[in-house]
Symmetry: C2
Subunit: 332 residues, 2 copies
DNA sequence: GAAAATCCGGAACACGTTTTCCTGGACGAA
DNA sequence: TTCGTCCAGGAAAACGTGTTCCGGATTTTC
């Protein structure tokens, strides 16, 4: 009875079983065209009986779209790319789109290779993301592109980025609202854009309450611990420390505890990133700024879908952060 | 001169420019068939001039393959899935395959949805991975499948897993070789397969040197800290602690330091996972077991490629771990 | 110089679907 | 009865590539 071997059934098999033509079967299954309800139902039953699944390669060819988008990340082992990726994947799968993953490992050659591959697959769009907030060179492809987290250097490109300034400012305002009057800032390398922006935002929001200069170092717990020593020597009366990352903040908390300073009663501490393994494991748990990267990924994907659908939205979309308050800044 | 608008050029455009037929152009570009070298070169130049990129949808349709594999993960935010994913992507991209990402978020409904989508895309194969080492129900698709990290409950399926027993044993043997004579074990929930296996392996390798019973708790720094108190009360002369995870080990180290016990001189400590943010940030840095998950991802992908190519390799492939020695077990 | 072998390239088809166009029939209205 | 309208469904083209087959052209061989 099996026509050939047990090949996966095509629409023609369904059509044959239902006693109609392939085109009629297509219309029946896609709820298009003019068909009798009875015919539609018959085709539908035939499809179910055969376990028919439409071959999207054929569909892609016919529709001119591939229902696939590519995600190019320079470094997906980084903890920023991953939530973005997941958010994008979530939003895309809701729209029946698939996401193909391309990790360039920061290698321009690999990036070229992936771009060719994506163009060759006639991907409907591309999301480009990076591990730093610095703007990056745009990619050159005849396909809609949206940049996430790292914007394109071309302001006419579509980019979705985090409001780093607002995030840092919100942490500082939170400390001010708790009555803190001497706020210091410990962060990563001065050469990193995000470190500079967060430092500037902190100083801007703290105004007279800011003490000393931002302490630039590296994104590590060790630097956080060391910075405490430096800071207390210069500013012994400091009552709050905002940090450029949760790692630094955790180091700061550890060192303060070792020195017998109570967090938050003597000194309040804030982090940045809401990286749960740091923010929650810290003693005490950290008040921190969540960049809502998964939401950023979702928004990026939806923006890309809009562009694909024909309504391009140029320029930078700046998404707000969210302040998560925990014990490291409890009110006194 | 442009035939229509600035459409992306097809092979027919290349053929027209080179003054040959489409089929000849195909042969020229794929180094197949019988063509004069001069013709080949002419076509090649035409392709380059037009910036021609073959449409892989057409190729997929014609070849019956999609050059795509799906990766189903129950939870890609987990830190185990990510390196596996990256390794797989790396191995696949070398073989001109693309990886489409499906994060089920542990929702059976989403899993079904993704499976349908992958089947519909006529994916060449599927990699299934999970965040626990427990075996999982196999998926039912007419497509080659390889399971990574979480094997299939069907022993005839192809699975690639970590040698958890060997990993834990290697850490213990390492401690024995350093002359440690009273080894304890602190790990996660007893209900977790990996916790049980690692505990059994530790006891088996330590033999008489094992003291007390494995301490089961949770995979957290807090439990590690607490376990130290429990352990020192019962076994005050313990000189080595193997932990079921780096998080636990970090907590253990922290608490020991607070109690004035030196790691490694008084008590040596080992972790598990080589999760850099824990293992390197710990004081002191942790000797730990690296499951080499990226390599596991690569092996999985290559195995899948083999299956796709027609040489199925059934059963479980158990990959070795690697012991990374750091200061937490320095020789005395 | 003719037959055979070799080389080159084109035409046609296959892949699976969607879509456009078209036909045959049913039905209603004049 | 006849014409027009509408509906259900079929035939064919289109998407872009790879592959198979075949004929014409060129070279080789006797």
């Amino acid at each position: 009875m099996a026509s050939r071997s047990t090949r996966t059934p095509g629409i023609k098999d369904v059509a044959a079983l239902a006693g109609v033509s392939a085109s009629t079967a297509s219309k029946a299954l896609n709820d298009t065209g003019q068909l009798r309800a009875e015919t539609r139902e018959r085709v539908r039953r035939a499809a179910e009986q055969l376990g028919f699944t439409p071959d999207s390669r054929g569909r892609a060819l016919a529709s001119g779209r591939s229902f696939t988008v590519g995600l190019i990340t320079t470094d997906s082992s980084g903890r920023f790319s991953i939530p973005i990726m997941l958010g994008a994947e979530d939003a895309l799968s809701a729209g029946k789109m698939a996401l193909v993953l391309c990790d360039t490992r920061d290698d321009p050659l690999r990036e070229q290779h992936y771009l060719k591959s994506l163009v060759s697959r006639r991907v409907d769009g591309i999301i480009v993301t990076g591990r730093r907030t610095e703007a990056r060179e745009p990619i050159d492809v005849p396909i809609p592109v949206v940049y996430a987290f790292s914007p394109s250097t071309d302001p006419d490109d579509t980019s979705v980025i985090v409001d780093d300034h607002g995030g840092a400012a919100s942490a500082t305002r939170h400390l001010l609202s708790l009555g803190r009057e001497q706020i210091a800032h410990v962060t990563g390398p001065e050469s990193h854009l995000s470190a500079g922006i967060r430092a500037a935002a902190t100083m801007g929001a703290a105004r007279d309450a800011f003490v000393g200069q931002p302490l630039y170092g590296e994104w590590s717990e060790r630097w956080g611990r060391h910075a405490v020593d430096v800071l207390l020597r210069a500013q012994p009366t400091v009552d709050a420390i905002t940090c450029g990352s949760d790692q630094i903040a955790r180091g700061v908390c550890d060192r303060l505890r070792e020195l017998g300073r109570s967090v938050p009663y003597d000194i309040a501490v804030t982090g940045y990133d809401n990286w749960s393994v740091m923010a929650l494991a810290s003693r005490p748990p950290l008040t921190t700024v969540d960049m809502e990267l998964e939401e950023l990924g979702r928004r990026t994907a939806n923006l890309l879908l809009d562009v694909i659908a024909g309504s391009p939205r140029r320029g930078q979309l700046i998404l707000p952060t969210r302040l998560i308050t925990r014990e490291s800044t409890l009110g006194t």
